[in-house]
């Protein structure tokens, strides 16, 4: 469903993606792990055109991702994104955040958007927070609203960019719980994360990225339990046993 073919990307003289080739199947949950600065967030941002790429090709169900082409709007309505820092609209309530896309981008009727918006907030466990503004919500609640906002677009896939990295540890579980349910329901997900437990339990496949290339990839449990490449082994040792 999502295809990346030899994708290159530089920020000035710094080449962050040095030829990434990968694909994500429909209904698959793929976790992307790797050290910071390895290019894993950049890959996500290229997939929905928040970032341009220099060479290679990215396509979603055959539609080429090109941030300067009008088709990018179609790409973005099919592939939603959840950000590390939530990026909720602070001047709108939780419910208004969720219905913003359906109402103004997809031009749904207000009644229909509101009904689904409330249902989605209930789905992420925040039905009673519909009228709260983002600053009144905890980080975990904000991120769950952000997930509802992403779902409201009825996307074919959701990209998660370190969705729990900005959260207090005790709030991480709520967000991961919502994501696990999405995965169980068959949502196609690409998740950049440092939560190895989530990757092991929920992901179908894990990609390990370092220095702008995919160093190793495979089924989640196999890769995390018996990494083959020395760089993967080294990274996992540091993450799992920091002391």
């Amino acid at each position: 469903m999502i295809e990346l073919n030899d994708v290159h990307k530089s920020f000035g003289a710094n080449e962050v993606l040095k030829g990434v080739t990968a694909s994500v199947q429909k209904g698959e949950v793929v976790c992307v792990i790797g050290p910071s600065g390895s290019g894993k967030s950049t890959i996500l941002r290229c997939i929905n055109g928040l970032e341009s790429y220099d060479r290679g090709e990215i396509s979603i169900e055959g539609l080429k991702v090109d941030r300067d082409a009008p088709s990018i709007v179609k790409v973005r309505t099919q592939v939603s994104m959840v950000f590390q820092r939530f990026n909720l609209f602070p001047h709108r309530t939780a419910l208004e955040n969720v219905i913003e896309g359906p109402l103004y981008v997809k031009k749904e009727s207000r009644a229909q958007a509101l009904e689904r918006g409330r249902a989605l907030l209930a789905q992420v466990g925040l039905a009673e927070k519909a009228d709260a503004h983002p600053p009144q919500l905890s980080g975990g609640q904000q991120q769950r609203v952000a997930i509802a906002r992403a779902l409201a677009m009825q996307p074919k896939a959701i990209l998660f960019d370190e969705p729990t990295s900005a959260l207090d540890p005790e709030l991480v579980g709520d967000v991961l719980g919502v994501m696990r349910k999405l995965a169980d329901d068959g949502m196609t997900m690409v998740v950049v994360t440092h939560e190895m437990g989530f990757a092991r339990d929920v992901a179908d496949r894990v990609l390990f990225i370092d220095g702008g290339i995919i160093v190793e990839q495979g089924p989640a449990k196999a890769l995390l339990n018996q990494p083959q490449h020395p760089r993967t082994q080294d990274f996992l040792r540091r993450v799992l046993h920091p002391l």
């Binding site: 709007v73 939603s80 950000f83 103004y104 981008v105």
Partner: protein, 217 residues
């Protein structure tokens, strides 16, 4: 200050006719400068090189010309080019254009103060440039922009006195006319100053209100 109250009562009606024109010039040029300033600011942040460059040059040209010269140009030079404006039209146009440069820079600063993550979130749900501006950026920028906008209102009220140089009989010019015919400089100009102050005070309070609201968030 001899006979101040007596003079005040006598000159008040004439000065009030000046006040009316002062308010007309101020509101007219405020509206014009807001529309033009918004236009320049949008061009500036449009991401289209030609538009952004055009806007930047326009702003610099406008900023580099004194208001009074701009007024003279509109009122005395334009007729030679076949465009005749009334003094009031020229005043509103001149002040509006002059202030549009400051408005534009103010609006741009407000727009650019919005977190980039907001724009990315808007894009990620498929919003285009204009929808992002209208639904996400501008509503948040308003809070940031309002306090300096209020200050511009106060400055415009006072700078509307420059319209007197092209014969608009607003408050300052009415004062000057009365003073030069009665020689009661002290009383007349004290009144003029007090009348400007009276108009400024509500605006000053408004700015304070804006600042408090922007600070709360």
């Amino acid at each position: 200050m001899k006979g101040f109250w007596h003079d005040a009562v006598e000159f008040f009606p004439i000065l009030m006719s000046g006040v009316v024109l002062t308010i007309v010039v101020t509101i007219g040029s405020l509206l014009l400068s807001t529309v033009l300033g918004l236009l320049w600011a949008m061009m500036r942040v449009s991401g289209i090189k030609a538009l952004s460059l055009l806007s930047a040059s326009l702003i610099n040209v406008i900023r580099g010309i004194p208001i009074i010269v701009l007024l003279f140009y509109l009122y005395f030079v334009m007729p030679d080019l076949g465009v005749t404006l009334s003094a009031l039209q020229a005043a509103i146009l001149g002040l509006g254009i002059a202030y549009s440069a400051y408005q534009a820079e103010n609006f741009r600063a407000g727009i650019e103060a919005i977190d980039k993550g907001q724009i990315e979130a808007a894009q990620s749900i498929g919003m285009g440039w204009w929808l992002t501006m209208r639904r996400v950026v501008l509503p948040q920028a308003v809070r940031i922009v309002l306090p300096p906008y209020g200050n511009v209102m106060i400055m415009m009220l006072k700078d509307s006195s420059q319209a007197s140089t092209i014969t608009v009989a607003e408050l300052a010019l009415q004062g000057k006319l009365i003073a030069s015919s009665t020689f009661k400089n002290t009383n007349v100009f004290t009144m003029v100053a007090l009348m400007y102050l009276t108009m400024s005070i509500p605006l000053i309070l408004l700015v304070r209100h804006f600042e408090k609201r922007a600070g709360k968030k």
